[in-house]
């Protein structure tokens, strides 16, 4: 897997346009979905993903195969997303989302409070309400299917933090989706 990555990266560096397009085709869909949900806007997502791939193209010379090419690309993407969100927060003067939702009341009902079939539309809306870090971990884990180990690499956090962020996200979603 890694040699294939290095090969593709080498071909891209060498100016092989087909190789870079291959890279794009392999990852664009999932990345686009991820970005749309991270930053909450399809138009912005287009712009952002464009920047990501342009930067990826420039930075491919620095790819050493330390991680999988996909992971590298995801890391680039998530960094852009988080930067975008931070900048947007500053622009909108919004109070920083507190991560202290932990321990905020969870329903102690003895029965499930979330519908068995969660409406995808409701879920999409609920995801938007998550704090940035928790949303990132949740999207990578529950939506995209990455393991905590991979998420740690992508987000530059520890595996333990990844787990707790996903937990936090799920608990918050549970509160939001409760009927």
């Amino acid at each position: 897997m890694r040699t294939a990555d290095l090969e593709l990266a080498a071909r891209c560096r060498a100016g092989d346009a087909g190789a870079f397009e291959e890279l794009y085709r392999q990852h664009a869909r999932r990345l686009f979905s991820l970005v749309v949900r991270m930053i909450g806007s399809v138009d912005d997502a287009e712009d952002l993903l464009q920047e990501v791939f342009l930067q990826a193209h420039r930075k491919l010379s620095g790819f050493r195969g330390d991680s999988a090419l996909g992971t590298w690309l995801y890391r680039l993407t998530m960094n852009h997303c988080l930067d975008h969100l931070r900048a947007r927060q500053v622009r909108m003067n919004r109070a920083t989302e507190s991560l202290d939702e932990e321990g905020a009341e969870e329903p102690t009902a003895p029965a499930p409070v979330v519908p068995a079939v969660v409406s995808r539309l409701d879920l999409e809306r609920a995801i938007k309400m998550l704090p940035d870090g928790a949303r990132a971990a949740f999207l990578l884990h529950d939506v995209e299917g990455f393991e905590h180990r991979e998420i740690a690499q992508i987000l530059g956090i520890s595996e333990g933090t990844s787990k707790s962020q996903v937990h936090k996200a799920r608990m918050k979603l549970r509160m939001i989706l409760r009927r």
Binding site: G15, Q50, A116, V143, R174
Partner: protein, 236 residues
């Protein structure tokens, strides 16, 4: 209840881990025993599982084909620049948002073919909880694009034949009416996501039609000019 002791394992359980797996962790087996008799944890597991399952089946947002076209042409452009300029990255957009600018570029260059625009899943949301009017940034986005495109279209107005111009004018009026109605509705009910979405939809339609208009005008170019005079004469 000793629920808190096991909270960290609960997510693993939701992820599908079971004590019967390679995991020889006694804590996990203990958790499963606890779960068997704890309705609070059972409820929690059920809820989080519903969420996880729903998340794993979320729709893909498909990037429009123009995205690759934009990236490819930017890269090409970058490669034509001297290396020191390349490092600065340079954005395309001036007065028009990148996505729209790319569309215009594509339309003018590729001769007016309409580019597939995959719709967003998110904008068909309608919820009980009122959303703040966050449509504002998007709305400004569109207004900017519209202003720029309108300028272009006006400059090229003479290039279109009168019948086409009439049809386009009529349809712009239809779209403007939709925009006005949506705005009026939004003024009445600022929290209505439906009104927001109607507005954004109508704005998007206007942008698309303006793009087409601009492309049309540049398409219907002339033929050899020497003969043009002759044609004019023969047309009398």
């Amino acid at each position: 209840m000793n629920c808190e002791l096991h909270d960290d394992l609960l997510d693993d359980y939701v992820d599908g881990v079971r004590a019967t797996d390679h995991r020889s962790d006694e804590r996990f087996a203990a958790f499963e025993r606890h779960l068997a008799g704890c309705i609070r944890c059972q409820a929690l597991v059920a809820d989080l599982t519903s969420i996880r399952v729903a998340a794993s089946t979320l729709d893909e947002h498909i990037p429009p084909p123009r995205l690759w076209a934009t990236i490819a042409s930017s890269i090409e452009e970058q490669q034509r620049q001297p290396w020191w300029q390349r490092q600065l990255g340079g954005a395309f957009s001036a007065w028009v948002p990148t996505a729209v600018a790319a569309s215009i570029a594509l339309l003018l260059v590729a001769g007016g073919w309409n580019v597939w625009q995959q719709r967003r899943v998110e904008t068909s949301q309608q919820g009980g909880a009122p959303q703040p009017r966050e449509a504002v940034p998007a709305e400004q986005h569109y207004e900017q694009a519209i202003a720029g495109l309108q300028e272009l279209a006006n400059a090229q107005n003479a290039a279109l034949d009168p019948e086409t111009r009439t049809v386009l004018t009529k349809n712009f009026a239809v779209i403007d009416r939709a925009i006005d109605e949506s705005r009026a509705a939004l003024a009445q009910e600022p929290a209505s996501t439906l009104a927001q979405e109607s507005l954004l939809d109508a704005l998007e339609t206007k942008v698309a039609l303006l793009q087409d208009t601009v492309a049309l005008a540049s398409d219907t170019g002339g033929g050899p000019d020497e003969a043009a005079a002759a044609v004019k004469e023969l047309n009398q």
